[in-house]
C-alpha cells in the first residue's frame, strides 16, 4: 500500500464530503429546469448547510443520547463507506477490513441509528417514519445481499477491489444476463434506500406520504444540517459505487501514480454526474408509489437479484 493509495482514499472521503451537496443541488436544478422553474442553483444545498450550521442547537424535550448521536452515526458510517469502497483507486487501505457485506452492514447501521432517533422523539411522526423506513430497509436488505452474491461470482470474492478489478479485466461480463439483472436490482434498492422517487419523495412534507422526512422532523439547526449532509453523501457514495461496480473504467490501480489518481477522480466525477442527472431526469416523469405498493416493487427487485445469482451460477464461466 503506497502513500498515494492512502491519499486516494482520503481524497475519496473529502470528495464525497464536498461533492455530496453539489450532487443534491445539481439533481434539484435538473428537476427544476425540466419542470420549467429557475431553480436555486447547484450551490444552494451548500448555502443551506452553512445557514443551518450557524443556527441554535435545539434538544427536543425528552429525547436521549440516541437522538443526539444518530446524525453523527449516519454521517460517520457513510464517510467510512466512502473510505472503503474503490471510487478513485483500488488499493484502499481499508479494503481488507470490510468487504461488500461489511459495507452493506455499515449502510444499515446508519439507517438503524436514524430509525431509533425517530422513535426516540416519541411523536407520532417519528414513529411513523421509522416504522416505514425499517419496513423498506428490511425488504431492501435481501435484494442487496443477493445482488452482492451475483456480483461476487465472477471475481470469486465479495471484496470490492476484487469485484471491480474482475469487471475491469473482463468487460464482456457486463453484458451477461447475471450482471444486467444485478444492475437493475441494485438500482431499484439504491433508489429505495436513499429515499428517492418512486419510493419516497425527498421534497415532500405531506404527513401521509413521507418516510425519511417524517423520521427527521424533530431535527433542527446543526443536527439537521448533518442529517441532510449525510443523506446527500449516502446518495453520492452509492451512485459512485454502482458506477464503479458496473463501469469500472478510469479507476486507478492498487498502486497508483499521481496522474492515475487524477484520472480516477475525473472519471468518478463524470460517472456520478451522469448517473445523478439521469436519476433526476427520470424522477420528473414518475409519481410516488403508494406505500403498500412499494413492497411489490422491492419483491420484483428481489426476484431480479435471485435470477441474477442463478444466471451467473449456471451461465457464468469461472475466470480461473
Amino acid at each position: 500500500m503506497s502513500a498515494l493509495a492512502v491519499a486516494a482514499a482520503a481524497l475519496q472521503v473529502v470528495g464525497v464530503l464536498a461533492g455530496a451537496p453539489l450532487v443534491v443541488g445539481g439533481m434539484r436544478q435538473v428537476r427544476a429546469r425540466l419542470e420549467g422553474r429557475a431553480g436555486g442553483g447547484i450551490g444552494q444545498p451548500w448555502r443551506d448547510l452553512r445557514k443551518q450550521l450557524r443556527k441554535q442547537q435545539i434538544t427536543p424535550r425528552g429525547t436521549t443520547v440516541v437522538f443526539a448521536l444518530a446524525p453523527a452515526v449516519v454521517a460517520g458510517s457513510t464517510l467510512l463507506i466512502a473510505a472503503i469502497v474503490p471510487l478513485i483507486a483500488l488499493g484502499s487501505p481499508l479494503d481488507s477490513v470490510a468487504d461488500l457485506f461489511g459495507v452493506v452492514g455499515l449502510l444499515f447501521l446508519g439507517t438503524v441509528a436514524l430509525t431509533l432517533a425517530g422513535i426516540d422523539t416519541g411523536t407520532a411522526f417519528g414513529g411513523m417514519g421509522s416504522s416505514r423506513e425499517i419496513t423498506i430497509a428490511a425488504l431492501v436488505e435481501p435484494t442487496i445481499l443477493l445482488a452482492v452474491f451475483a456480483l461476487s461470482v465472477p471475481g470469486e470474492s465479495a471484496n470490492l477491489a476484487a469485484i471491480v478489478s474482475a469487471t475491469a479485466n473482463n468487460p464482456e461480463q457486463l453484458v451477461s444476463p447475471g450482471s444486467l439483472l444485478a444492475f437493475v436490482a441494485l438500482a431499484i434498492v439504491i433508489i429505495a434506500e436513499t429515499g428517492r422517487l418512486p419510493v419516497d419523495n425527498p421534497s415532500t412534507h405531506l404527513e401521509l406520504t413521507m418516510i425519511h422526512e417524517a423520521m427527521v422532523l424533530e431535527y433542527a439547526g446543526p443536527k439537521l444540517a448533518l442529517v441532510e449532509w449525510a443523506s446527500g453523501m449516502r446518495l453520492t457514495v452509492l451512485l459512485a459505487l454502482v458506477a464503479n461496480l458496473f463501469m469500472p473504467w478510469g479507476i486507478a490501480g492498487a498502486d497508483p501514480s499521481l496522474l492515475a489518481v487524477l484520472v480516477g477522480l475525473v472519471a468518478i466525477t463524470v460517472k456520478v454526474v451522469v448517473l445523478a442527472g439521469l436519476l433526476a431526469a427520470g424522477e420528473v416523469f414518475i409519481a410516488k408509489l403508494r406505500l403498500f405498493r412499494v413492497p411489490e416493487l422491492l419483491a420484483g427487485s428481489f426476484l431480479l437479484a435471485l435470477l441474477a445469482v442463478t444466471a451467473s451460477y449456471f451461465l457464468g464461466t469461472p475466470t480461473s
Binding site: T59, V97, D99, L106, T121, G122, A124, T310
Partner: protein, 668 residues
C-alpha cells in the same frame, strides 16, 4: 421426573435455613451461587478439555448394568464451556432476581440441577448416560417453567412444553436405541467404530428421528411451538438458560450423532437440514418482527438463530458430500461461532428483559417505553444484545453471519445442480432473515426502551439491583468480545474442527485474526479495525458539525412539535403493534393475523365516527394449522375410548382378564 422427587429431601443439605425469614435471604444467594459455581466448573472443565487431553470418567455403581460413562472431547467441551459461561452470568443475576421476585423453594433447588443436567448431556459418552442426562435436563427445565404455575398462561405453556419435549425424547430414544442395537454397543466410541457397517436404511431412519427429536429441542419448525410459549413464561434467568444454553444441546445432538457418528451423509441429509434451518430462520424472524411481547420476541429470535445454525450445519454437510471441504469448514465455523455468540447475546437479552419485567411487571412492548432515562444500564445492556441479534457490524452476531454468507457464496459453482440451486436460495433466506431481524430488534429496543413511557408501571420503573447488573455486565462483555475480537475464540474453534473429521475437518478452518481471512477463497474482514475506523469516522462527523458554532446562540431545550396542539400525550406515540403494522401487512399471507376493526357511527350521521375499536390477534399459523388438527384428533379418540370407561370395577376386571387371555393366546 424421578430426579426431582429425589431432590426434595435434599433441601437442608443445600443449606436452606430453618427459619423462613432467613431462607428468603439465603436461598437466592445459595441457589444463584451454586449455579454460578457449577457454571465456573463447567467452563473450566470445558476449556481444559478443548485445549488438553480428552478425559474419561466411569461410574459403574450409579446405574445398574451399564454404569455412567462420561467422555469429554473438544466438541462436547465447547458446549460444556458455553453452558458454563451462560450459567455464571445467570447465577449471579439470579441472586438479585430471585430475591426481588420472592422465588419459592422449589425453583431455587431446581435451578442448579438444571444447569447440572445441561452440563452432563454433552459430556455423556454412552447412549444410556446421554438419555439420562437429557431427561434430567428436560424434567428440571419443566419444573422451572412452571415456577409461576398460578398463572393460566404458564400452565398452558407447561403442558405444551411437557408434551413436546417428551415426544422429542421418544424420537431421540428410539433413534439412539436403534443406533445402539445395530452399532452393537452402548458407548458412542463403539458405535462410531461400527458406523460403517450400518445399513443405509438404519442410517436414514436414525438421521430423520434425531433431526426431529433434536430439532424440537432447538426450536426448529414445525416443532418449535413450545419455545415461544415456554421461554417467555419461565422466570427470566431460566429463559436465559433455556434460550442460550438448552437449545444448543439440540444442535449438539445433531452435530454429534448426525454429522460426527453417522456423517458424512448423502446429499439429501445436508439439504434436509438446510431446508429445516432456512424455514425456521425466516419464520422465526417474521414472528419476532410482529411480536409485541418482549420475551416472546426474544424466543422467536432463538428459533431464528437456531435455524441459521442448522442452515450452516446443513451447508457444511452438503458441501462435504459435494467434495468442497474448505468451504464446508467455513460453514461449520460459522455454525459454531454463531452458536457461541448467540449464547452471549441471547443471555444478555433475556436478562435485560428480566430486569424490565422485574421493574415494571410488563412484557408487553405496547405498554413499555421511556426506560432509557429510568433504567440506563439495563437499556445499554439490551441495546448491546439487540445489536448482536440484528447481525449488524459492531454487533456480536455479525462475524458469524458474515462467515455463513461467505460459505454460501463460495460454494463451487461447477459442482452438482443441487448445490447451484440450494446456495442462492439459502442466501436469499439468510438475507431476508437479517433484514427482518433488524426490524424486530429496532422495534424491541426503540419501542421498549426509548421515547416516553406508555403506562404508569413503565413510568415508575427503577434500575435493577447490583447483582442483576453484574450478571448482565458479564454477558455484555462477552458480546463485545464477539463483536470486535472474534480472534479470541479462534483457537477453540480450530480445536473443535479438528475432532470433526467427517465434516471438513481435514482442511484448516478460517483463520480468525485481527483481519479474518478465509482459506482457499478470497475474502477478508476485520471487525476490530472496522469498529475503530467507525468510531474515528463518527468523531470526524461530530467535528464537522462543530463548524460554524461561533455564530450559534446558546443551546436550548424545547418542547416537541405537537402540530400546533397543546401537548403530546404518550398515547400518540407509535406502539409496537403500529410499528410492525406495515410488515404485518406485507407478510399478511404467511402471518394470517386475525384483525377486527369495528367502527361505531353517531346515530345522527353515518359520516361522523363515534368510536373505532381495533383488535388484532397474532396466533402462530403453524400452530393453528399443524397442531390444532392433531390435538382435535387426539381429543376425538379420547372421547371414543372414554365410552369404555364407565367407572364400573367389574368391567375393568373383565378388561384385565380379557387382556391377559389375549396376551396368553398371542404368546403361545
Amino acid at each position: 421426573m424421578t430426579t426431582t422427587i429425589d431432590a426434595s429431601p435434599a433441601v437442608p443439605a443445600l443449606g436452606e435455613g430453618p427459619r423462613a425469614a432467613r431462607r428468603s435471604i439465603d436461598g437466592p444467594v445459595l441457589s444463584g451461587g451454586l449455579t454460578a459455581i457449577l457454571g465456573a466448573i463447567g467452563l473450566a472443565l470445558g476449556l481444559s478439555v478443548i485445549f488438553g487431553e480428552p478425559r474419561q470418567l466411569r461410574i459403574g455403581w450409579l446405574l445398574p448394568l451399564v454404569g455412567v460413562r462420561l467422555d469429554l472431547d473438544p466438541l462436547g467441551g465447547v458446549f460444556i464451556a458455553t453452558t458454563g459461561a451462560v450459567a455464571i452470568a445467570v447465577g449471579i443475576y439470579a441472586v438479585g432476581y430471585a430475591n426481588r421476585e420472592h422465588w419459592a423453594r422449589f425453583p431455587l433447588i431446581t435451578l442448579p440441577l438444571f444447569v447440572a443436567g445441561m452440563l452432563l448431556v454433552p459430556a455423556a459418552g454412552s447412549v444410556t448416560t446421554f438419555l439420562l442426562a437429557w431427561e434430567l435436563m428436560a424434567a428440571t427445565s419443566l419444573i422451572l417453567v412452571l415456577s409461576e404455575h398460578r398463572r393460566d398462561a404458564v400452565r398452558t405453556a407447561g403442558v405444551f412444553y411437557a408434551i413436546m419435549t417428551q415426544l422429542g425424547f421418544v424420537a431421540i430414544l428410539v433413534a439412539l436405541v436403534v443406533l445402539s442395537a445395530s452399532g452393537s454397543g452402548d458407548a458412542f466410541t463403539t458405535i462410531a467404530a461400527n458406523a460403517d457397517s450400518l445399513t443405509p436404511g438404519t442410517r436414514n431412519a436414525v438421521f430423520l428421528l434425531t433431526v426431529l427429536g433434536f430439532g424440537s429441542k432447538a426450536g426448529l419448525l414445525p416443532l418449535h411451538a413450545w419455545l415461544p410459549k415456554a421461554h417467555p413464561e419461565a422466570p427470566s434467568p431460566v429463559s436465559a438458560l433455556m434460550s442460550a444454553a438448552m437449545v444448543n444441546v439440540g444442535i449438539y445432538g445433531i452435530i454429534r450423532i448426525d454429522l460426527q457418528l453417522l456423517g458424512p451423509g448423502p446429499h439429501w441429509w445436508g439439504l434436509t437440514l438446510m431446508i429445516f434451518g432456512a424455514v425456521s430462520a425466516v419464520f422465526g424472524v417474521l414472528q419476532a418482527s410482529v411480536s409485541t411481547d418482549l420475551k416472546q420476541l426474544l424466543a422467536y429470535s432463538t428459533t431464528e438463530n437456531m435455524g441459521l445454525i442448522t442452515l450452516a450445519l446443513g451447508a457444511a454437510s452438503l458441501l462435504t458430500s459435494s467434495s468442497a471441504p474448505t468451504v464446508a469448514a467455513i460453514a461449520l465455523t460459522a455454525a459454531l461461532l454463531h452458536l457461541l455468540s448467540h449464547a452471549a447475546f441471547k443471555t444478555l437479552g433475556f436478562l435485560a428483559a428480566g430486569s424490565v419485567l422485574a421493574a415494571t411487571g410488563l412484557r408487553d412492548l405496547d405498554k413499555l417505553g421511556g426506560l432509557a432515562r429510568r433504567m440506563p444500564v439495563t437499556t445499554v445492556m439490551f441495546g448491546i444484545a439487540a445489536l448482536g441479534a440484528s447481525g449488524l457490524p459492531l454487533g456480536a452476531g455479525f462475524v458469524s453471519e458474515w462467515l455463513l454468507l461467505q460459505s454460501l457464496i463460495h460454494a463451487p459453482h461447477d459442482s452438482i445442480t443441487l448445490v447451484a440451486l440450494a446456495m442462492p436460495l439459502s442466501v436469499g433466506a439468510v438475507a431476508l432473515t437479517t433484514g427482518l431481524g433488524i426490524a424486530a430488534m429496532v422495534k424491541a429496543f426503540g419501542v421498549g426502551f426509548l421515547a416516553r413511557p406508555r403506562s404508569a408501571a413503565a413510568e415508575a420503573a427503577r434500575e435493577a439491583p447490583k447483582s442483576m447488573l453484574a450478571g448482565m455486565t458479564l454477558a455484555a462483555a462477552a458480546c463485545v468480545v464477539f463483536a470486535v475480537a472474534p480472534a479470541f475464540f479462534s483457537p477453540t474453534l480450530q480445536r473443535v474442527l479438528a475432532v470433526l473429521p467427517t465434516v471438513g475437518g481435514d482442511s484448516a478452518g478460517p483463520k480468525i485474526d485481527t483481519i479474518l481471512r478465509l482459506p482457499g477463497v478470497a475474502g477478508s474482514i476485520s471487525p476490530g479495525l472496522l469498529a475503530v475506523a467507525l468510531i474515528i469516522a463518527i468523531l470526524l462527523a461530530l467535528a464537522l458539525a462543530r463548524w460554524g458554532r461561533r455564530h450559534r446562540p446558546p443551546l436550548a431545550v424545547t418542547p416537541l412539535w405537537a402540530c400546533g396542539a397543546d401537548s403530546l400525550s404518550p398515547r400518540m406515540q407509535y406502539t409496537a403493534t403500529s410499528f410492525a403494522e406495515p410488515l404485518q401487512r406485507v407478510f399478511d399471507d404467511i402471518l394470517r393475523p386475525d384483525t377486527n376493526v369495528e367502527v361505531t357511527h353517531f346515530a345522527e350521521s353515518q359520516y361522523l365516527v363515534e368510536r373505532v375499536t381495533y383488535r388484532t390477534l397474532m396466533a402462530d399459523p403453524v400452530e393453528q394449522r399443524f397442531y390444532l388438527p392433531v390435538v382435535r384428533a387426539v381429543t376425538t379418540w379420547a372421547q371414543l375410548v372414554r365410552r369404555a370407561h364407565t367407572g364400573s370395577v367389574h368391567l375393568y376386571l373383565a378388561y384385565g382378564a380379557a387382556g391377559l387371555l389375549i396376551v396368553l393366546l398371542v404368546a403361545r
